[in-house]
């Protein structure tokens, strides 16, 4: 069994072509048979080759006739609806692959923009970004804010039902406060300030486990000296 990629073109060499034909025809018949058995369906194959005036068929000449009459009994429209030839089959495959490509590119773009957002959160400059990047970034930030707000609502609902279920006279001690205290910060563009702010945040908060080992580790993976351009590839043709 070869593992070389075969060029999809008519094989000029006569003996090579004949050998290929024999092998692949056998494989094709096997595949039809498997499809029929695995899925419990009727099928037939008719193969005309340059080597024989008689076609080779599966399952058998009689079997083929049976399937053909079944086929021809169907209304014309049903017959042609899923009928393809080489060209239309190829075009179908091209269309499907193109759609998958488009989707994958979109997903990748979103992931890229998210990465950039995280980088900018830790101080990377916005100046290298073009209009399109900025637009996408703004959109991504909005999406995240929406999600955060939704999460707030969910959490508030949960804690409200908890409060209702538990009758307590006083504050419940270690539990995070029921009213979310809005932590305000001195808002400042200065990189240094922002780094300091994040370091303050990550220094041990009381009882809330942060879920990540990270206190002692590098807090700012994307430091000031990050040379990598955010948008290193011309993304859209």
């Amino acid at each position: 069994m070869t593992r070389k990629k075969v060029k999809l073109a008519y094989i000029a060499n006569d003996s090579a072509r004949k050998a290929t034909f024999k092998k692949r025809k056998k494989g094709l018949m096997k595949k039809v048979s498997e499809l029929s058995t695995l899925c419990g369906i009727d099928a037939c194959a008719i193969i005309y080759s340059p080597y024989d005036t008689q076609p080779e068929v599966w399952p058998s000449p009689l079997g083929v006739q049976r399937v053909l009459s079944q086929f021809q009994k169907m209304p014309e429209m049903e017959q042609s609806k899923k009928m393809v030839n080489q060209e239309s089959f190829l075009r179908q495959r091209i269309t499907k692959a193109s759609e998958q490509l488009k989707k994958q590119r979109k997903d990748n773009r979103e992931k890229e923009v998210t990465q950039a957002m995280f980088q900018c959160l830790t101080g990377k400059s916005l100046q290298n970004l073009n209009m399109m990047d900025l637009n996408d970034l703004g959109w991504m930030i909005d999406q995240n804010l929406k999600e955060i707000n939704k999460r707030f609502d969910t959490l508030k609902r949960e804690t409200n039902s908890q409060v209702a279920a538990v009758s307590v006279a006083g504050p419940s001690g270690e539990h995070p406060s029921q009213k979310a205290e809005v932590l305000t910060f001195e808002v400042n563009n200065d990189n240094m300030q922002r780094q300091q702010w994040f370091m303050d945040l990550l220094n041990p908060q009381p009882q809330e486990p942060l879920g990540f080992g990270g206190h002692d580790e590098m807090l700012l993976p994307f430091g000031d000296n990050n040379e990598n351009p955010l948008w290193s590839n011309a993304f859209f043709p």
């Binding site: 094989i11 072509r17 025809k25 340059p50 490509l101 932590l183 990540f212 993976p221």
Partner: protein, 173 residues
């Protein structure tokens, strides 16, 4: 490693028991079958017709040069005709097929590349999450963390809007 598909595993040759799997199998194998037939036609100059009934009793067919002509050839016991004019027509059509095949190969290669890129980006995200709490999924954040992240994002948004305006002005002056 969890396998996504059963490729390279031996499959028992009996009718599949699970209806949902059966439908998927039919879809994939039918497509693969037509692909193989298509290749055989190109590589060896064969003429092939395949007719397949789906589990839902729809009929799929592939034919090169065409299902109907080949079916007639078979039923009338007449081998397909290859007149001079036909040959010219076929040569032209084969050229189109080659072009389309090249286009398909191109798209598939690009798809492969983008998928790889997607994988790399996923890895990057995962790595980031172990270092920075704010990169974790929002459902995993605590209330104070959410507050902080929200404030930070709102600040960033302000800067983005400013930079946006600045870039726009620069671009038109």
């Amino acid at each position: 490693m969890v396998r996504k598909s059963r490729g390279r595993q031996k499959v028992e040759m009996v009718k599949m028991s699970k209806e949902s799997n059966l439908q998927v199998t039919f879809s994939k194998r039918r497509s693969g079958l037509f692909k193989k037939a298509s290749e055989l036609c190109i590589l060896c100059g064969a003429e092939i017709a395949i007719i397949v009934f789906s589990p839902g009793n729809k009929v799929f067919s592939f034919g090169h040069p065409g299902v109907e002509t080949l079916v007639n050839s078979f039923l009338n016991r007449n081998p397909p005709q290859h007149s001079g004019a036909m040959q010219l027509f076929e040569a032209h059509r084969n050229a189109t097929v080659r072009e389309n095949n090249m286009q398909l190969t191109q798209v598939l290669n690009q798809l492969e590349m983008e998928r790889k890129r997607g994988e790399d980006l996923n890895q990057l995200r995962k790595a980031g999450q172990t270092l920075c709490w704010w990169e974790a999924p929002i459902e995993e954040l605590t209330l104070p963390q959410l507050e902080q992240l929200k404030a930070s994002l709102e600040e960033l948004k302000k800067n983005v809007t400013k930079e946006d305006a600045r870039t726009f002005v620069l671009s038109v002056t």
